[in-house]
């Protein structure tokens, strides 16, 4: 990348693109006269994803499109940090967390594929790409999950994949699967591998997961690999390089979820504030009641806290952010989805009383969506257990300060 965002003043321009897109997407998804379900017009998602590619929201779009570098989780994160991506996802999450998560998943799928040259040899610009890295239970980085992962086996004449992943997110029906794998248990030294296959390759079983709590705009699949052959050139990274990619992928996935949840929480809070100023109870607007003011203030406090967490390293280039710091930041952000975004949404829903529980007001969807984001890739306990060894090396913890 030859110039920074500031040099080109692209950040502001990109934010305008995002705002315009989010506004149009909201109009399409939630046309009040169309009588869709609470998740909006899900049939419009493919069209909206295509439009996102066209306007450059998807990283590595077709040649020459503005998103090549600046789309969500594009190459700029390495040299400029995640600020743009997190802001973009928060803006989209404000409109529809499911659509935001779909575009986020597309970016995550491409993030681990390395540089643009490597990507161009493996995938087409219009391909739908998904990352396969979430084990059936828990966190990929949990050492106890080693046997549960997808494994890359050596065969006489190459490599093949075996194993499964229960929770693969995508922006639609995937064309390409970016796979985070390990060498088989028993191999020493065991190592991480980044590879990928076409979704239509032999030995790939792709099944849509059933009904779920939220984020219904995303593709949501279970993937099984049954001796799926892998081309040599599709083994993108191994060992330390692969670990760096895996860490980045996992961390950015969690950070993105937190940013989307932040957007949903902001929208819920704004709705609740407006409702509280209009609805009357006991002869006054409900905003005049301390009980409601407390709810609104709590929601605001939670949002501010999550904003602070997300801003912590947002402008630090990922290339220069130590992996432990990146992971610690991402874990804290992902924990913040449940502790702050979901809390802000549920407080905002409560302000609406019975109306908040009804689908018409949109709060029920936001609540479902933030809980889906808050359960992404690991339980609270697992994340905390990952956090501790990181903290054990953190000078803030071990020496009382940096």
């Amino acid at each position: 990348m030859s110039a920074t965002l500031e040099d080109l003043d692209l950040a502001a321009a990109f934010a305008d693109v995002v705002d315009d897109y989010a506004g149009r997407a909201g109009d399409v998804l939630f046309d009040p006269h169309a009588g869709q379900g609470p998740d909006g017009d899900l049939d419009a998602i493919p069209q909206l994803v295509d439009e996102a590619r066209t306007v450059g929201l998807v990283a590595d779009s077709t040649g020459g499109a503005p998103g090549t570098d600046y789309g969500i989780w594009g190459d700029h994160v390495l040299e400029e940090g995640c600020d743009l991506d997190l802001r973009t996802l928060a803006t989209l999450g404000r409109t529809c967390a499911g659509l935001a998560a779909a575009l986020h998943a597309e970016g995550i799928g491409r993030l681990a594929l390395g540089d643009a040259v490597t990507r161009s040899t493996l995938i087409g610009g219009g391909d739908t790409v998904a990352a396969v890295f979430v084990p059936d239970y828990g966190v990929a980085l949990d050492p106890r999950a080693e046997t549960d992962a997808v494994h890359l086996h050596g065969t006489g004449d190459g490599f093949c994949l075996r194993g499964s992943s229960g929770f693969v997110w995508s922006s639609g029906e995937p064309d390409w699967l970016t796979v985070v794998a390990r060498t088989p248990p028993g191999d020493h030294p065991a190592e991480w591998v980044i590879t990928g296959v076409r979704a239509a390759a032999p030995g790939v079983g792709l099944a849509t997961n059933g009904h779920r709590i939220g984020l219904r705009a995303i593709g949501h699949h279970r993937v099984d690999f049954d001796d799926t052959p892998v081309a040599d050139e599709a083994v993108i990274a191994r060992g330390g390089d692969a670990l760096a990619s895996v860490t980045r992928l996992v961390a950015c996935d969690w950070l993105g979820c937190a940013a989307i949840a932040l957007g949903a929480a902001r929208r819920a809070h704004a709705q609740a504030t407006a409702y509280a100023g209009a609805r009357r109870q006991g002869g006054r607007t409900i905003a005049d009641h301390a009980a409601v003011r407390l709810l609104l203030a709590q929601a605001s406090h939670h949002i501010t806290t999550l904003e602070t967490v997300l801003g912590r390293h947002a402008t630090v280039p990922l290339d220069s952010l130590p992996h432990d710091d990146l992971l610690r930041w991402a874990i804290t952000a992902r924990l913040g989805v449940g502790e702050h975004a979901a809390a802000a949404v549920t407080d905002s829903l409560q302000v609406h009383g019975g109306y908040g529980y009804m689908d018409d007001y949109g709060l029920s969807k936001r609540l479902r969506d933030v809980h889906a984001l808050g359960a992404r890739h690991g339980s609270r306990e697992q994340l905390l257990l990952l956090l501790h060894p990181l903290d054990a090396t953190d000078p803030m913890v071990t020496r009382g300060g940096r």
Binding site: R144, G283, G354, G356, D359, R376, G378, S379
Partner: protein, 436 residues
């Protein structure tokens, strides 16, 4: 029990051995054993019905409530005596323990039904709420005229349902709260005419309203002078389905407890004869408030049941799902989380069972029980979803449904904020003296 410890216990003197509980019964069995015999039998009967009839339908009833025919469930529940428990024999099927503690069997039923399915449970339990004003009014004529035949039909396998209608489009909390009731302009009014009253207005979010055969509806009797007030002029009436001018509107699409409808009811100049009035004119506010006193503890038990269902689902999943080569349940951090959920459920049950031991319910205790259990249930269900991580978001694994179901318990029967204030109001001359 650890074998070494069991051996050591065996070395104790006989008295010491009797003081050491070495049994391995689960909490449900232990709690049930503390109940009087009649309630023990009911608790078993409720659980058997819930497991056999409600649990298998739970996921379908949530995802596609329109596909589930409630009539066979209502018929079987009615024949089993579960739909006629507000009155003792011969009119009803209340256990005799109900004469001193009228809500104990109700909370047992609520927990068991909603542990199987929050929505189906509510669909069955709403009938008790609809019938409650008839009993709570103390109006023997109304009890004989309405409740007796209703209960007879339920027991005979031709169930007829009641629904309770107070909430109005512009007044949710106002019709459940002293301050609100003083100031809000009632949206449903009753105008006296020869031989009865004409009711006009609209009610919303009426649980069971779409299927009700009769509705106990509260309307403000229009005063001769000045505007009508909820607290001063509320009067209770029975309106039967099919009455001219009575219309059923749309049922809401809601986040959870989806098998139970929440429906709009319209009263377009509905004439009801004087015999349809429940209790005295202007006594509706007291009836309404005491219905809430009676209902809030079972609503707390609904939250308890939903939380228990979430815990049970999380436990099932933790036994089946493996991390590495061991089931989740074998990991200490999973055990710690599940222990938290178990303790929350046990604490909720403790509060519910203690609340119903007070005899006729008290506003403060009922409201506190409802609010506490509603908040804890949402917390338990949320934690269960989180513990299962991505698996917890799948409908088939039941905990996300529990989360959605539990969220309603912080809202209906008065928001939990209103219930906290009702607690302060009730004990304003006692525990919270000086608060007024």
């Amino acid at each position: 029990m650890d074998p070494t410890l069991r051996h050591s216990v065996g070395l104790l003197a006989p008295l010491g051995r009797t003081l050491y509980d070495t049994t391995s019964d689960d909490l449900w069995t232990r709690d049930t054993a503390t109940l009087p015999r009649a309630l023990r039998k009911r608790r078993h009967a409720y659980r058997d019905f819930a497991r056999r009839r409600l649990a298998p339908l739970a996921l379908t009833a949530d995802a596609h409530p329109e596909q589930v025919d409630l009539r066979p469930l209502l018929t079987e529940a009615g024949r089993a005596g579960f739909q006629s428990e507000l009155l003792p024999p011969p009119l009803g099927t209340m256990p005799l323990t109900g004469l001193r503690q009228p809500l104990f069997h109700s909370v047992l039923k609520a927990e068991e039904f909603t542990a199987a399915c929050g929505g189906l449970g509510l669909a069955l339990l709403a009938h008790d709420l609809g019938a409650a004003p008839l009993m709570i009014s103390g109006d023997l004529a109304a009890i004989r005229r309405w409740l007796g035949p209703l209960y007879r039909d339920c027991r005979n396998g031709s169930p007829r349902l009641a629904a309770f209608a107070i909430t109005e489009p512009g007044a949710g909390s106002d019709v459940e709260d002293t301050d609100g009731a003083r100031t809000v302009r009632p949206g449903t009014t009753a105008h006296p005419v020869d031989g009865g009253y004409v009711l006009s207005g609209q009610k919303v979010f009426i649980t069971g309203g779409a299927r009700a055969d009769l509705v106990t509806v509260f309307a403000a009797l229009e005063p001769d002078i000045g505007p009508a007030r909820v607290d001063a002029h509320f009067t209770c009436f029975v309106v039967e389905a099919g009455t001219a001018g009575f219309r059923i509107g749309r049922s809401e699409h809601k986040l959870g407890q989806r098998a139970a409808d929440a429906t709009e009811l319209f009263f377009d100049d509905v004439f009801v004869p004087t015999a349809n009035r429940v209790g005295a004119e202007h006594a509706g506010w007291a009836i309404n408030r005491n219905v809430l006193n009676f209902s809030r503890v079972p609503v707390g038990a609904i939250a308890l049941g939903i939380a228990r269902g979430a815990l049970e689902a999380a436990l099932d999943h933790s036994r089946e799902m493996r991390l590495g080569n061991r089931p989740l349940l074998a990991y200490q951090e999973v055990q710690l989380a599940l222990a938290d959920l178990w303790m929350d459920v046990a604490a909720m049950r403790g509060m519910v069972w203690q609340a119903v031991r007070h005899g006729p319910p008290n506003q403060g205790i009922s409201s506190a029980t409802k609010a506490f259990c509603g908040d804890r249930a949402f917390s338990v269900a949320t934690r269960a979803v989180d513990l299962l991580a991505d698996s917890g978001t799948l409908h088939a694994n039941r905990v996300e449904k529990a989360l959605r179901d539990a969220r309603l318990n912080q809202i209906y029967e008065g928001t939990n904020q209103i219930n906290r204030l009702a607690l302060i109001e009730a004990f304003g001359d006692a525990d919270f003296a000086g608060a007024a």
